[in-house]
């Protein structure tokens, strides 16, 4: 698989990150090498027909007791936010332009 600059830039957009022009090519080469190694592993392992395993233990859904508990107090929930008023998180405008 050949990684293009455009694919790397698309992945950066998905990760909400920005790389400068100088950063992009070395990074592309690193990913290229990493995926070439994965390709070599695939060839070494041969086809893998087992079902995927997303958690090491077969995790079962767990339910808490159905009773009301105290939530995190509002002032604590807001305390670490960079921009708030007494009741809300503030965000920049959402519509571009």
């Amino acid at each position: 698989m050949k990684i293009t600059r455009e694919e790397l830039q698309a992945a950066a957009v998905d990760a909400r990150l920005d790389f400068s022009a100088e950063e992009t090519e070395p990074l592309r080469q690193k990913y290229q090498e990493a995926l070439e190694k994965i390709q070599a592993v695939k060839e070494d392992m041969g086809p893998v027909d087992t079902p995927p395993l997303f958690y090491p233990q077969e995790v079962k859904n767990t339910y808490r007791n159905d009773r009301q508990e105290e939530p995190l107090p509002r002032e604590k929930a807001l305390a670490n936010a960079p921009d708030t008023d007494s009741s809300c998180f503030h965000v920049p405008r959402i519509i571009e332009g």
């Binding site: 698989m1 990684i3 694919e7 790397l8 698309a10 992945a11 950066a12 998905d14 990760a15 909400r16 990150l17 920005d18 790389f19 990074l27 690193k30 990913y31 090498e33 990493a34 995926l35 190694k37 994965i38 592993v41 695939k42 070494d44 392992m45 893998v48 027909d49 087992t50 079902p51 995927p52 395993l53 997303f54 958690y55 090491p56 233990q57 995790v59 859904n61 767990t62 808490r64 007791n65 995190l72 604590k76 929930a77 305390a79 670490n80 936010a81 960079p82 921009d83 998180f89 965000v91 920049p92 405008r93 959402i94 519509i95 571009e96």
Partner: protein
């Protein structure tokens, strides 16, 4: 009182005999710890000294474990001023058992990649040899005697790698054994809270303290804790499987191979039965783990966006603010790892990479479990190389040092790293992997190996009882 030469059991006995008070322990801990912190770069935040008569065991917690009201940075600029509104369940349990966290320790940013001990805030120096990586502040703090135990996390082998670098004992428990609530992890299906101690018994104390079911963590599993010290002697002859593929591992240092090979010979001569076996999965595990971990990190760290917590960088609009905040707040290795995760889980690549890796995971887990059906333990080196020089960097998204450790994370198995020997004034670790929820037999076997090897711990030196 030389806390750095004591085991936890000795400290408990000293309290019982009123040889010294918790205040004296704290005074000595804070005074000596400050000097060691300055020398080796151990801690990111010191906690205020408490004033209570509780019999305490001085400990450190890696700075990705939350303590209510205290700074928790994950060693990242993006979390530089974050103060957690609650404590990690594991640390709450540790406090009940007497462990008092005196400082939050340095780690690689978010614990991602090889444990080098280099963060944007501090560089942890190996207490054994100047100019070499210590792995983390937690491991170096335990090794140097600044604290008696430490709590940290292990996603693909980081905790065991730092234990190996600093010549201490590191235990990663079975996935589900310890609550992950309050751990700011990056790979939710791989990360576990584990412990570091100067000897196996101290590590067992710390692990028993934090183990147990947490109803608020859906991955926590309710199993009895059957490894409270004092550890019993193993019931009969011990058999260990040693996969021969360790000798072909990429980047295997000749010195590590020599120390590990000699240790195997020594253990055999002392009655430990070591069977050479084959585990082809050893070759594949690290790149597969890195692939899964990067995708999980891409997802898990998506909420570090400058809205509800953390640092914010101004942008022209919401999307721009996200990008500016994350681009400025995360360091280069984290950004590289997250973008790798985005790349290999994109619509085009999901089947060929991420889904393939999860299929490999079952395949690898099954191979490891098949070996453990015949032997109680798998024995391997912990890291293929000795602690590198401080300036050495990680080469790409896959850590260099997790070849031998990552199978335990993929399979969710308990594993312990303990010192095997020294080469060129730097420690070399060996690793035992055990059966699921087999922490008891695993720690008993590790204690037996520790006795046979008689490693001269840096801080313990002439050990007290």
């Amino acid at each position: 009182m030389a806390l750095e030469k004591m085991k936890i059991q000795s400290l408990k006995k000293a309290y019982e005999g009123s040889y010294f008070s918790p205040h004296e322990v704290r005074d000595e801990g804070y005074e000596k710890g400050a000097g060691l912190d300055e020398a080796y770069g151990l801690f990111l935040t010191w906690l205020p000294k408490k004033d209570s008569d509780r019999h305490i065991i001085p400990a450190a917690a890696a700075d990705n474990l939350c303590l209510e009201g205290e700074r928790t940075t994950c060693a990242s600029r993006i979390m530089e001023n974050y103060h957690s509104p609650f404590s990690a369940f594991a640390l709450e349990k540790a406090a009940v058992a007497g462990f008092e966290v005196v400082a939050k320790s340095n780690l690689d940013e978010f614990g991602i990649g090889d444990s080098t001990g280099v963060s944007p805030f501090k560089t942890t120096v190996n207490p054994w040899k100047e100019g070499h990586q210590g792995g983390s502040g937690a491991a170096a703090a335990v090794a140097s005697g600044a604290v008696m135990a430490a709590f940290a996390s292990d996603a693909s082998g980081g905790l065991r790698q730092e234990a190996s670098y600093s010549g201490v004992v590191g235990v990663k428990p079975t996935y589900g054994r310890v609550s992950r609530r309050g751990l700011i992890d990056y790979a939710s299906s791989l990360d576990q809270v584990g412990v570091l101690g100067r000897c196996v018994e101290d590590a067992a104390y710390a692990l028993a303290a934090i183990s147990g079911h947490d109803p608020k963590d859906p991955t926590s599993i309710d199993r009895p804790v059957d490894f409270d010290p004092p550890l019993k002697q193993p019931g009969g002859p011990i058999t260990m499987a040693c996969p021969r593929e360790w000798q072909e591992a990429k980047g295997l240092d000749a010195a590590v191979a020599k120390v590990f090979g000699k240790t195997l010979e020594h253990l055999s001569s002392q009655g430990i039965q070591i069977e050479e076996v084959s585990l082809p999965a050893l070759k594949w595990s690290s790149p597969v783990t890195a692939l899964i971990a990067s995708v999980e990190a891409f997802s898990t760290l998506a909420n570090f966006d400058g809205i509800r917590f953390g640092e914010r960088t101004r942008g022209e609009h919401l999307q721009d603010m996200y990008v500016q905040t994350r681009t400025r707040g995360f360091g280069p290795r984290v950004k590289e790892f997250l973008t790798y995760g985005a790349l290999v889980s994109s619509g085009k690549n999901y089947q060929d990479y991420f889904l393939w890796a999860q299929k490999c995971r079952r395949f690898i887990r099954d191979q490891v479990l098949a070996l453990l059906e015949n032997s109680f333990f798998i024995i391997l080196p912990t890291v293929p190389f000795a602690p590198p020089p401080l300036e050495e960097k990680s080469p790409g998204p896959e850590p260099k040092g997790h070849i031998f450790t990552s199978p335990a994370n993929l399979a969710g198995l308990p594993a312990v790293s303990l010192p095997a020997g020294i080469h060129d004034a730097l420690p070399v670790g060996l690793q035992l992997i055990g059966r699921p929820f087999g922490e008891g037999p695993l720690l008993q076997a590790a204690a037996l190996l520790e006795d046979i090897i008689s490693f001269p711990g840096l801080a313990l030196g002439e050990q007290e009882g």
